[in-house]
Amino acid sequence: MENRSLKKVTSVWIITILVLFLASITLGIIMRFNQGTQLHLKPNTFYATLTTHGVTMIGIWAAAGLVAINYLLSRYVKTSAGLSIFALVFTVIGVVMLWMSTFAGNFHAAWTFLYPLPLAPYAAWKAWATNLFLWSLVVFGVGWLVWSVGMMAQILRNYSITEIFAWQHLTGKEPEKKTPPFILISSVSLIGIILCLLAAVVLLVFFFMEMYTTGVKNDALLMKNLTYFFGHTLANEALYLGLAAVYELMPEVGGRKKFGTTWYVALGWNCTMVFVLTAFFHHMYMDFVQPGGFQIVGQLASYFASLPAAAVTAFSVATLVYRNRIKWSFTNLLFFIGIIGWLIGGVGAVIDSTISNNIILHNTLWVPAHFHTYNAMGNVLLCLGFFWWAAHDFSGTRDTFRSHWPTLTLLLIGGFGFVLMFYLGGASSVPRRYAVYPEGIANGAPLATAAAWFAVVYLVGMLMVFLTIIRRCTKAFSPAS
């Protein structure tokens, strides 16, 4: 019974996320056409669109990772469909509030809503829109925090604290009780998610103190640190949730032996857990009042957070597919391409997080280039792999690749073409977050137009994925399932 309701709520989650994804891609395409001067949005509308797109995308793909691990955790521990429903309701309410704040209230301080902009007296939106935007974040935060803590509590019922971090594997000897990689990665990521959501709580409390009391002003540097502690960490941890699903499903779907936890897998993910929490300091390079030591921590943590996880994952996946007879299905191809997208985006990120490069690449299109690569061609594909697998699992249909190669081709050409235009823009110093590029930036507009068309191709591919998944997911509600 519990399993059935878990399937049902997972199906509703999958459909909700995909509907919001298609809508947000459309917003992205509108922005790119505007930057290419085919469309002419008012500047306020452009920035409201940017804000909606950014928050929705980050939110839904963090939620997608949580949906995936919530479902797969039921293989190891008891999971709660109730908590998932609770988070779903909060997410839907949060999205409605967010979209109202931006499109009805015209709030457009971008997804980072950096202090003091949301409260600025000269801002071109009403105070109620700021209130609604910040409260929408509260609603998201409460839903996901309760859900994540709930999942963590369930894991801890079966595994001790040292076991969730797989410390017993660090000696290199065969331990008495093994920690599956899925449990290790899920735990590491959930802890990161809980931590960054708590950073959001602190940040929002400071915002509300200034908004609802008189005579209180916040420190801009502290607020910026908190914003990136929350935002950067959430975006990164979301990706690791997707990877947890890959570790769990990729060998299984490919007809191979499950991945095991080795000392280097344990070490790599423990390093990632620690370093990802301080990597956000690389967002503060331009804040020269922050002491130099923090900037160096930011640079080193950026390397150490990404390299161990990337190395062990790339190694594990390579050993799985190299010279092995693996069953290639659509799920596995999505996982495989998603890992490649994540690695390419990761290299772009490490280049940008190196201080000497950041001086040049800071706030250019290189930034959306790398994070769109590891999102649109990384985490999205990893989670989509899970969605595809789940939809076929729920409906009892066979997951083959044969009839879906046109879909994959569209996703590949559209996705990589779209991000390539960002990279080319970044490499020639086209600034990010411009509604329209000034005359001096010659290649901004043509690159934007090309990117918009590539994104249309990606959207068509996504639409095809969506139609297949929705048909299969609705089977979770049929009495026979």
């Binding site: 509590a153 801890l156 931590l195 709580v201 602190v202 502290l222 640190n225 009042v289 922050q290």
Partner: protein
């Protein structure tokens, strides 16, 4: 004349540090920033022109002086001339020295330029204007006449004016070379690191800064960054211990 220069320097040394902000002369370095400077006519050694014609060609640094000054004007100009030679060999802007004393004639100003050996230097322009009131009030400079000493009571003031005629920086008093360098950077459009100091009403700032010693220290705000980590740690520990008990009971 050199005697008066020396006397001025001595007076300056005895007077202690200048008042960069406000002080007895009611001069603020922030007042009137990013507002246009009055576009007054200027009588120069060779011709007459409008101030706007000067700044349209190059950014301008305006220094307000009077030739009969027995106080700060001479050491102020002497120091500025030295700093200019050291800091801007490529002459990316003009220094316009304007007299705010209606008694000064163009001949007085030319003599003043020669005194500092700046007469033949193209970068330096020594001028008088018939609309000195308009100029001084647009930059917030308020000299007061002291009939007892027969002198203006005033502060030394340097005003940076950009190519659009906007006041982008003001500096009062004789300043260190690094301040002049920062004024030059502002004029030539380079990045100047500046950060608002946390006010009294500021909640938990990350750093404290002592403007006198220039020392920056971490403050309580930074500890706030540890709060989410501390709560997560306690939460995990608590859940870990609680579930251990639960597991023991079950087994």
């Amino acid at each position: 004349m050199y005697k008066s220069l020396l006397a001025g320097l001595l007076a300056l040394t005895l007077a202690g540090p200048a008042h960069p902000d406000g002080g007895v002369y009611d001069l603020s370095e922030e007042e009137g920033l990013y507002t246009p400077i009055a576009d007054v006519p200027l009588h120069l050694a060779s011709d007459t022109t409008q101030l706007s014609r000067l700044y349209a060609r190059q950014p301008v640094m305006v220094a307000l002086v009077f030739t009969r000054c027995t106080g700060i004007c001479s050491p102020f100009l002497l120091r500025l001339a030295e700093d200019m030679r050291a800091l801007d060999p490529r002459e990316k802007f003009k220094v316009l020295v304007v007299s705010f004393d209606p008694r000064d004639t163009q001949a007085d100003m030319d003599g003043y330029a020669r005194l500092f050996q700046l007469g033949g230097d193209d970068r330096w322009l020594f001028a008088t204007t018939p609309q000195i009131e308009a100029l001084t009030s647009s930059v917030g400079f308020r000299p007061t006449w002291d009939s007892l000493s027969g002198q203006f009571d005033h502060e030394a003031l340097l005003v940076g004016v950009n190519g659009n005629g906007y006041i982008i920086r003001k500096m009062a008093g004789i300043r260190e070379r690094k301040d002049i360098a920062s004024l030059i950077k502002t004029l030539t459009g380079e990045f100047i690191p500046s950060y608002p100091l946390p006010g009294e009403d500021r909640l938990l700032s990350c750093f404290t800064y002592d403007p006198v010693t220039g020392v920056r220290k971490p403050s309580y705000g930074l500890l706030i960054l540890l709060v989410p980590a501390a709560i997560t740690f306690i939460l995990m520990l608590w859940m870990g211990l609680a579930s251990r008990k639960w597991r023991l009971k079950k087994s």
